[in-house]
Amino acid sequence: MDETNLLMRIDGVTTNFHTYAGIVHAVDDMTITVPKDSVVGIVGESGSGKSVTMMSVMRLIPSPPGRIESGHVWFDGATLNMADYVQQEGPNRGMVDLLSLPPEEMMKVRGRHVSMIFQDPMVSLNPVLTIGLQMTESMVAHGIADNEEAWKRAIEMLALVSIPNPEERMRDYPHQYSGGMRQRVMIAMALSCSPELVIADEPTTSLDVTVQAQILELMKELKTKLKSSVIIISHDLSIVAGMADKVVVMYAGRVLEEADVYDLYEKPGHPYTMGLMKSVPRLDADDRERLVPIEGSPPDLLAPPAGCKFAPRCQYAMEICCKQEPPLITIGDGHRARCFLHHPAAPAVPGFVKVE
């Protein structure tokens, strides 16, 4: 994977929520790189911090109670047209830190350069505005088209996501669309300003399988057509398998593993990734094998365990795992994992490929 041709680097982002019960460590020292023209999948269960990470990138964390405590989100400056904020030297030369932009500059980034497809199309469209008005809003706000032109482009976008009779449907309200069609509108809206990066937060979770297949095929098709990079967030390893070039596995606000999609599925480097794969039944399995669940439940982020966050549920946990948090180490080309089992002194575990 070409790590030099970067579109975005999330660098050590930590986001906490300050609640009455205490500080919730939602995302801790998050580092992810997004190469240009690629699809990055982020997999994790609810509460693993995958949505909070992306909301931090977009600076949409409600504050209070949320606060981005530290870190940078480096975004390719060549596309942003913000000469004043581009780093002139150092390792991040030519990049712009989205987290230190003034709010009015950040507004120029949202929707124009980085856009988001939200999880629930039922609640993320405004019920009292027509689809046409919502479609044209961002194009007009970013000044890339006047009203008339934006209307025309919006019709083209609706046709692109295969909404029948787009001219007439522009004047309809969201409740006149079905769930799958609303999600298509969300996708059309996210792509309307041709952003460099599209963040899709569980884009198919509330949809039926057949509609999910439609939406995923559409996203793949548009990805090649419009040349945007995509970050797809999902709790489902199988959705990511078909789309992503690179996958990041998150748990309790941390990256546990990051790898090329083939490496991740063929030689997972973390017991959690292995566990996730064994706990879902496969449609192409021949016999009814018993599932292997991951026992226990995810930790409470108000009081996360000391040491490795997965240790209390890990069947291979060693003494050190409960005391010290393992670092994210490189175990192959673009393959990183946060596990002590890769240490030379650790015992061998069946099915686990240890770094040499």
Binding site: E217, L237, S279, R282, L283, D284, L291
Partner: protein, 324 residues
């Protein structure tokens, strides 16, 4: 195998207002329209389909939460639709349900102990001490700490709440359990825990399941036989082992091809049958075959004639003019 439940020509129509907020014009929504199937004792039958195919309505009608519009439900040689209220009350102890949403199906103001004890209370089973004893036992069976009987539902995670829901369903020693999407609200790593537990309970207590879900891979895993429903009709019935390899109905084929497989090499090679459009309205379903509006192989005959469920050999039933 002894037949425990027999559903014949079951129909359930709901009356809905289609006239808008200020006009009254009632129409019938055909949620379940002429569905027949059998379930053998000790078997797990999966019922799959998209939202709006009537799968939940079938489950709820069987346990008596809805009164059927037409048709019969025979449970152990008794026609449930013809029973008196009192007789139905007693039969219902044998038919229990596990609900989809563990956050909505437990009363937030009752302790877990009271929630599980309530069915026994209603039927005045045993003394108070015996009931308490049974609650402890049930909590142990579903893998929870018996000391948690005094806690409230909000103190538990989603997976634990679903275990409480299962303990409540087991309180009356049922024979038949309708599990309505019992795992779809849970996290991936928790789903396997609950499914394994349901399988263990079946072995131990000799339960029969009707497992309703939209996750085909999970249904294939847990079921002996699978019923595929589309817009209030059953379009295909077969053994779960066979249905993945040899689906006959074009809808089943499309449904199976839509399920992603967690393997990037297989997933990128697969040819998908992507269905066009959305589910038609069950208020005004298409004439003839209901699937014809989205079917890739539809012919003029499909609009005129409704296909019957036909036996294609060894219990493999399919409702399509062009199957086989």
């Amino acid at each position: 195998m002894e037949t425990i439940l027999k559903v014949e020509h079951l129909k359930k129509y709901f009356s809905v207002n289609v006239g808008g907020p200020f006009a009254r014009h009632m129409a019938s929504l055909k949620a379940v329209d002429d569905v027949s199937f059998e379930v053998g004792r000790g078997e797990t039958v999966g019922l799959v389909g998209e939202t709006g195919c009537g799968k939940t309505t079938v489950g709820r009608t069987i346990v008596g939460l809805y009164a059927p519009t037409a048709g019969t439900i025979t449970y152990c040689d008794e026609n449930l639709c013809a029973l008196s209220r009192e007789a139905m009350r007693n039969v219902r102890t044998k038919l229990q349900m596990i609900f989809q949403d563990p956050y909505a199906s437990l009363d937030p103001r009752e302790t877990v102990g009271n929630i599980i004890e309530e069915p026994m209370d209603i039927f005045s089973i045993g003394s108070m001490a015996e009931r308490r004893e049974r609650v402890q036992e049930l909590l142990r069976i579903v893998g929870l700490n018996p000391e948690h009987a005094n806690r409230f539902p909000h103190e538990f995670s989603g997976g634990q709440r679903q275990r409480i829901g299962i303990a409540r369903a087991l309180a009356m020693n049922p024979e038949f359990i309708v599990a309505d999407e019992p795992i779809s609200a849970l996290d991936v790593s928790i789903q396997a825990q609950i499914v394994n537990m349901l399988e263990d309970l079946q072995q131990r207590l000799g339960l029969t399941y009707l497992f309703i879900a939209h996750d085909l891979a999970m249904v294939k895993h847990i079921s002996d036989r699978v019923l595929v429903a589309y817009l209030g009709k059953i379009v295909e019935i077969d053994e779960s082992r066979n249905i993945y390899k040899h689906p006959l109905h074009p809808y089943t084929k499309a449904l199976l091809s839509a399920v992603p497989i967690p393997d990037p090499r297989i997933e990128r090679r697969r040819q998908r049958i992507v269905l066009k459009g959305d589910l038609p309205s069950p208020i005004n379903p298409p004439s003839g075959c209901r699937f014809r509006t989205r079917c890739p192989i539809a012919q003029p005959v499909c609009a005129e004639q409704e296909p019957e469920l036909r036996d294609m050999g060894s219990g493999h039933m399919v409702a399509c003019h062009f199957a086989g």
